[in-house]
């Protein structure tokens, strides 16, 4: 049988190392992508995913050099024998941050860039631009500048500009890593549309959600080795446990399935969608109609003292006549973990900037630590409230970890040598950075960079710490680590404000949640109450966690769900206990 008629890409025992003497980055990879199939490549950070992607379009080894063993066949032709230009037309690669691949200025020109390089006729280019704008739904932005697009639109444009080359295989590198749930869904729909058009798709990701049920094949990469491949249902049943330990987010439905297996139940099929999970639970007799699932209510005790920060009717505009905030009132109390959630552009970051004084509150009133915000200077305010940025590297200024902390201490007015050393030690110990204190900040591991980022922000004992998008570009382990640091800091009496659109974090960690949408606050209260009101989430373009969606479905089936269930673990505990009791 002719292989190239069936497979778009075939990897035959492929190993690769960047330098002869270095260890192999990829080891004995053996897999193939069927034509027109939808494949997901999953693995934690640093598992070799990008190196693998570069093998598809011939960048490796044509440009990167290194030592390639085995054979990569694209449409039946070995990449080693093909020209990069030919490969580039066959394999479209959408970068993790598509904005960084835009070479022109307007949306229309960007889509045309590839076909122009291929010397397509003007009319042909125009036709395909029209088609792609229509297909990706960014028609109305065709004359926009590429830097004036939202995150979702950037992904769509990235995809469109790669599709314009009419590739047979599309590689998408973490397309939804920083998109809000609504935009994520749109990108997912687009992927399915491509699949129906017969394009082979490889989606690279660090996290799996229930979209995985649509895939034809999952490839699991860990430390350069393919530790699993196959149909999602079989693979997750077989290797779910192992994938979980890699630090990859799994859908909550699969977590439930794995939990059941760990509790000694045997499953024939791993549940991935909500419906499947409910069927599994019913068929195992773990949930029966008319039963109730009771969890302790999460009681949120607001500290009795005056709020640290109190804002009333804040309106804010960046001076272009449009209001980013249209009358927001928000209090922050001592020692609480507040989550501010909302889609991109809902006003979350604007609020954060107001709180740390980078934006000035002109309309409405904002009291920070008992003083109107207008009377604060940014450097003074930094002693009381700090922002941990998405990208910790932006904050690094010096050559060693110790210097980095010293810099912060000095900018807080501590110059005495003994005092400086004492404070530095305290911070290094608290964030477990002592071992790397002489390293260069940029050479730290991602986790330690995060820690250092937090350490520099803790100088001067702030009373409030804001964390901007703790999940941004992080795998599960990193997010967990960061949130655990935050919880430890919260226990010391510091209020934590978490800005996110990840409802799973909110469910798990937040004491209180404020929902922002279009510059207005739609909800302020305990997370459990929020999940009872799906309408609010919908208007804020947010999405319930799978677990809560399932609990909602269970309620519809007449099952009584009460209390706060922060995650699949506690959900499993409750239903298993119910069984024992019965």
């Amino acid at each position: 049988m002719n292989e190239s008629a069936v497979f778009s890409a075939v990897f035959k025992d492929v190993s690769y190392s960047y330098h002869e003497e270095d260890g192999t980055v990829l080891k004995n990879l053996d897999f193939s992508l069927t034509k027109g199939s939808f494949n997901i490549l999953v693995g934690p950070g640093g598992s070799g995913k990008s190196t693998l992607c570069n093998l598809f379009n011939g960048r490796t080894p044509h440009l990167m050099g290194g030592k390639l063993e085995g054979e990569v066949l694209i449409e039946g032709k070995s990449t080693a024998d093909s020209e990069m230009k030919d490969l580039a037309c066959r394999v479209g690669y959408v970068f993790q941050d598509p904005e960084s691949m835009f070479a022109t200025l307007s949306v229309e020109d960007e889509i045309a860039f590839g076909p122009e390089n291929l010397l397509f006729e003007k009319q042909e280019i125009l036709d395909s631009v029209e088609d792609l704008l229509d297909m990706t739904g960014i028609e109305e932005y065709r004359h926009n500048l590429v830097w004036n697009l939202s995150g979702g639109q950037i992904q769509k444009l990235g995809l469109a500009s790669v599709l314009a080359m009419k590739p047979e295989i599309i590689i998408l590198d973490e397309p939804t890593a920083n998109l809000d749930p609504t935009a994520t869904r749109q990108v997912h729909e687009l992927i399915l549309k491509l699949k129906s058009e017969g394009i082979t798709i490889l989606l690279v990701t660090r996290e799996l959600d229930d979209f995985v049920s649509q895939a034809d094949q999952i490839l699991v990469l860990h430390k350069g080795e393919l530790i699993g491949k196959g149909n999602p249902y079989d693979l997750l049943l077989e290797k779910g446990e192992e994938i979980d330990t890699l630090g990859v987010w799994l859908p909550e439905t699969v977590e439930i399935g794995l939990g059941l297996m760990a509790a000694g139940y045997s499953l024939e099929r791993m549940p991935i969608t909500i419906k499947e999970t409910m069927e599994t639970l019913f068929s195992l007799g773990l949930i029966k109609e008319g039963e109730s699932i009771k969890a302790p209510h999460k009681v949120y005790e607001q500290s009795s003292g005056a709020p640290l920060i109190s804002g009333k009717d804040i309106r804010f505009s960046y001076g272009n006549g449009l209001y980013a905030l249209k009358g927001i009132s928000l209090d922050i109390h001592p020692g609480e973990m507040l989550a501010i959630v909302g889609r991109n552009g809902a006003g979350k970051s604007t609020t954060a900037k107001l709180l740390i004084g980078l934006n000035k509150c002109k309309e409405g009133s904002l009291d920070l630590f008992g003083k109107p915000s207008g009377k604060w200077k940014v450097p003074d305010l930094a002693n009381h409230i700090s922002l941990v940025f998405q990208n910790p590297e932006h904050q690094f200024l010096t050559d060693t970890v110790s210097d980095e902390i010293d810099y912060s201490l000095q900018s807080h007015g501590i110059f005495d040598k003994n005092k400086l050393a004492e404070e530095r030690e305290k911070l290094l110990q608290m964030l477990e950075l002592t071992e790397v204190k002489d390293d260069h900040p940029f050479s730290l591991s991602a986790g330690n960079k995060r820690r250092l980022g937090v350490a520099t922000m803790l100088v001067g004992d702030p009373k409030v710490l804001i964390v901007d998008e703790p999940t941004y570009g992080q795998d599960r382990e990193m997010t967990r680590t960061l949130m655990q640091i935050m919880c430890a800091i919260q226990e010391r009496g510091v209020s934590i404000v978490m800005i996110s659109h990840d409802m799973r974090l909110v469910e798990e960690y937040a004491d209180r949640v404020a929902v922002f949408s279009e510059g207005l606050k739609h909800f302020d209260g305990v997370p459990t109450d929020l999940f009872k009101e799906p309408e609010i989430l919908k208007t804020a373009y947010l999405q319930q966690t799978l677990l809560n969606q399932m609990l909602g479905c269970l309620k519809e089936k007449g099952i009584n769900v009460e209390g706060h269930i922060p995650g699949t673990e506690s959900f499993l505990k409750i239903i298993l206990k119910n069984r024992e009791a019965a």
Binding site: M101, K122, Y318
Partner: protein
């Protein structure tokens, strides 16, 4: 105005959509006109050419439907520097004087020549500034790059060189918001660590010193972005020196011919009166 939103503070290069004659001109013509008019401004004597040029450009502003005040607003931040330069020019730079000094301040004296020179400096600065802002107000950045490509065509042995040159222009513009955004991120990050960005009451030298730590991360970011961009362009079959086709092409209209004729006549009138008739004296 918020000091952190650097993007909003960049007033040059802000295209404002419109439907005027100036907006609709052929991009190559717009660029040539910009260059010709700039040359004219630079060789104009203080009287009577410079005010005439200013008037002419003001007329063009009218024609484009923009407000003169808005276009000139961008000069605000540079004015202090301009004043310092003017003072240095007036008092410190020696010139050949044919007249006695008008004003004596200790060792420094102000002569008629100094005043003329300073007036010319200001006149040219404002005229050029207005001209350039007007140009960027009526020309989109992709028009600039397409226009440049057309103008470069005769230079290259093959068309490919003009493609590359115009791409260089495009990418230069592409990096303005990238750098501004990175700078914004970094200043914010550092300000929230207790740096004194955003409090502009510090002195000029201190202000400059504050920005030095910004440069290293900014350059790293810019180089990283450039590298990614190269990868991305190669992944989309871009090869330097190769011919490319073009999605947008611009047609040359009757109004373009008319405008070109007016422009050339103007150019001849001004240069002729300046160099052949020597109107305006010998101060260049």
């Amino acid at each position: 105005m918020n000091d952190f939103d650097l993007l909003n503070n960049i007033s040059l290069g802000q295209y404002r959509p419109g439907d005027s004659l100036l907006h609709k001109l052929h991009p190559a013509l717009k660029i040539s006109a910009l260059v010709l008019l700039m040359v004219l401004v630079l060789i104009s004597p203080l009287l009577p050419h410079l005010p005439l040029m200013f008037l002419l450009i003001t007329l063009m502003v009218r024609l484009s439907g923009q407000s003169l005040f808005k276009l000139l607003k961008g000069t605000g931040p540079v004015l202090p520097f301009l004043l310092i330069i003017a003072l240095i020019q007036m008092f410190l730079i020696p010139r050949e004087y044919s007249t006695p000094s008008l004003l004596e301040l200790g060792p420094f004296g102000v002569h008629r020549e100094d005043l003329i020179f300073t007036a010319k400096l200001f006149g040219r600065f404002f005229t050029l500034f207005l001209l350039f802002t007007l140009f960027t107000t009526v020309t989109t950045i992709s028009e600039i790059s397409h226009g440049a490509e057309i103008l470069f065509r005769p230079i290259g042995r093959k068309r490919a060189l003009s493609h590359d040159l115009s791409l260089v222009i495009t990418i230069t513009f592409r990096f303005i918001p990238i750098l501004a955004m990175e700078a914004e991120h970094i200043t914010k990050a550092q300000a929230s660590r207790g740096g004194s960005f955003g409090t502009w009451k510090t002195g000029l030298i201190k202000k400059i010193r504050l920005y030095i730590p910004l440069l290293v991360p900014l350059f790293i970011a810019a180089l990283e972005r450039a590298e990614t961009l190269v990868e991305a362009m190669e992944a989309r079959c871009y090869e330097p020196g190769q011919e490319r086709s073009r999605l947008t092409e611009y047609a040359w209209n009757g109004r373009d011919s008319w405008s070109l004729a007016v422009l050339l006549i103007l150019f001849l009138l001004f240069t002729g009166s300046r160099f052949i008739l020597s109107i305006g004296g010998n101060y260049v």
